[in-house]
Amino acid sequence: MPAVKVENLEKDYGKVKALKGISFEINEGEIFGLIGPNGAGKSTTLKILSTLLAPTGGRAEIFGHDVVKEAPRIRELISYLPEEAGAYKNLTGREYLEFMAKLYAKNERDATKMIKLGVKLSGLRDRLDDKVSTYSKGMTRKLLLARALMVKPKLAILDEPASGLDIINAYTIRKTIREFARNEGVTFLLSSHNMLEVEFLCHRVALIDSGRIIDIGTPRELKERYDAENLEEVFMRAVGAGGGHYE
């Protein structure tokens, strides 16, 4: 059984068609990346799989459960990190992790384990006892990623996990994701418009543009298929955009 199965998924926002019938599958334990430009439909796909939006057409399953009909069950299996996310400003980082852990854990012992892992994953140390309102963007993102991963979901859905961060913070976040995936065997679905990030993290990627999936494969397969040096070139060739040329 695939971890994620998406069939002809469509989403309309009024007259705008954000998704025009996309299909893909993700295997258990895989890190799968959705790459494409802004407005391609990446976030919409992730929001449908996270039960936030309802599809206009098609269907999607996570570990055999329908995302619309079995939304409450899906929420027990996933952990979602939105692209633009914040934490409760009047709580401390530790209180935020405790609050989340208590909602996921079945008992006090599990909650303690989750918090311990969250503290480690965040890397915020003493700053965890400060209010979230005093955190920088990078610190908040680390706290949110720790929150998403500490519950050890069956599927982690991360929307642009390192978007807008400086090199050091972005590198730390990518490293955390890669190590966590390797150690815990969690399935990941992440979106990004940073091709280097995707190449660094993902086992397989889907190229998405204007609500359609153009191609799917491992980074190596795609580079060979399009005779390209990196995923950036793969994407440009796949969408048939040469762009300007200067020599």
Binding site: L52, I78, N90, E95, L103
Partner: protein
């Protein structure tokens, strides 16, 4: 701990730590209102303290001296005699001596009384600054009272000289004894005192209900809008918690905070109003208006249902706002016009209104707490039960709508453009 309590606790923690909320909802009513009241009281007490009166006596007859002596013997009055050639000079001298009032007894004072003509006394309030002048008015009142007693005394002497044995019957041929008739009972208290006691009750409650409803509504709307503004809503909606639990915990958290705030306002307002009003020393139970435990339970139920209705309505409205500020605007523009008509009941009872207006008012849920308050004293339990049934239906409908919206994507996608195209 259940998901519900974990979330409600977080909600309260988040609200309690909000410095702006804490200041506006708890510090202001608990500290500033009583402080304002205390300041007013201090002013009043100072004014009611010793009155300094200057007297310029231009009369050389016996009655002028009688007036001076009467004032000298009056309690809380210190008299300073001023020798001056004219009223202007006397005023200058009185002002220099920090006097509040100058009493001028004119030259012909005794003569007028002897000739059975009305005699005049001139009173000058002396203002040393442009502040309210409470002290001057209190002093004037005190002197007027002294002069009224003196007038009556002089009249009594004159009437006795005419050979009348009971001057009181001639001075006051008709005396009124005021009593009130309330709830089929005669109460030996004047109607003005009874209506004063009733009015103070009927003004305080609508204000408290109004504050409670608007404060809790704003807080509930703020709690939802803050989730959008701080980008925590999407995460919240993907947690393994029922959407109805999220709604219920937000309502409970804000309702508890709202009740604390309402209590703070109630204490603050009571202390403020208490320091202003002259205590009549008469309670509602003296007027035979007893509250039974049943009445109190029904009244509490009416208040509870009104708050639930107002909170869930505010949450629905907040879903359409993108940030806390626009949520407050949209909630104020809907809740305030709804809560305002209930103020009519500060001046009249529901039963005294024309039928159309009465039913129009009863359609407004915010009228019911005040109507129920009147019902509670009159023992009209049918009226209270009708209110409870109506509010329960309305609260259930709005709660259901809120929970429905929360279980769809509208909670994320709905928004009001405010005339702008996004």
């Amino acid at each position: 701990m259940s998901d519900f309590w974990i979330m409600a606790k977080k909600e309260m923690k988040n609200l309690i730590r909000d410095k702006k909320l804490l200041f506006g909802l708890i510090i202001v009513p608990l500290v500033l209102y009583p402080a304002m009241g205390k300041l007013m009281q201090v002013g009043l007490e100072k004014a009611q303290g010793e009155t300094h009166v200057a007297i310029a006596n231009f009369d050389d007859g016996e009655y002028g001296m009688v007036l001076v002596k009467t004032l000298q013997n009056a309690p809380n009055v210190t008299v300073t005699l001023i020798n001056a050639s004219s009223v202007e000079k006397a005023l200058e001298s009185a002002a220099k001596k920090n006097q509040n009032v100058l009493v001028v007894i004119p030259r012909n004072f005794s003569e007028s009384i002897r000739e059975n003509k009305p005699a005049t006394v001139e009173l000058y309030g002396i203002f040393r600054s442009t502040s309210t002048g409470m002290k001057e008015s209190v002093s004037e009142g005190r002197i007027n009272a002294v002069i009224a007693v003196l007038s009556e005394q002089i009249a009594r002497i004159k009437i006795q000289k005419l050979g009348v044995t009971s001057p009181d019957a001639l001075l006051h041929p008709v005396r009124a004894e005021s009593m009130s008739y309330l709830k089929n009972k005669i109460i030996p208290i004047s109607p003005s005192v009874v209506s004063g006691v009733l009015a103070s009750q009927s003004i305080t409650l609508p204000i408290i209900v109004f504050l409670m409803v608007t404060i809790t509504a704003q807080m509930a709307a703020g709690a939802i809008a803050a989730e959008k503004e701080n980008k925590t809503l999407e995460t919240l909606l993907t947690l393994p918690v029922k959407r109805t639990t999220i709604v219920a915990s937000k309502i409970t958290g804000t309702a508890l905070m709202g009740l604390i705030a309402a209590l703070a306002y109630m204490i603050g307002m009571r202390s403020y109003l208490g320091s202003l009003g002259v205590q009549s020393g008469i309670s509602l139970s003296d007027l035979g208006l007893q509250i039974t435990p049943e009445g109190m339970v029904l009244f509490a139920l009416v208040i509870f249902l009104t708050i639930i209705f107002s909170l869930s309505l505010a949450m629905i409205l907040a879903i359409f706002a993108q940030d806390v500020q626009s949520a407050n605007t949209v909630v104020s523009s809907v809740i305030l016009p709804l809560a305002f008509p209930a103020f009519i009941l500060m001046y009249t009872g529901l039963g005294e209104l024309p039928v159309e207006i009465r039913y129009a008012l009863l359609a407004d849920p915010f009228t019911h707490p005040i109507a129920a308050y009147q019902y509670m004293f009159s023992g009209n339990y049918t009226g209270m039960l009708t209110s409870i049934a109506y509010l329960a239906v309305l609260a259930a409908l709005t709660l259901y709508t809120t929970a429905r919206i929360f279980s769809t994507e509208k909670v994320l996608t709905a928004k009001i453009g405010w005339g702008r195209k996004s």
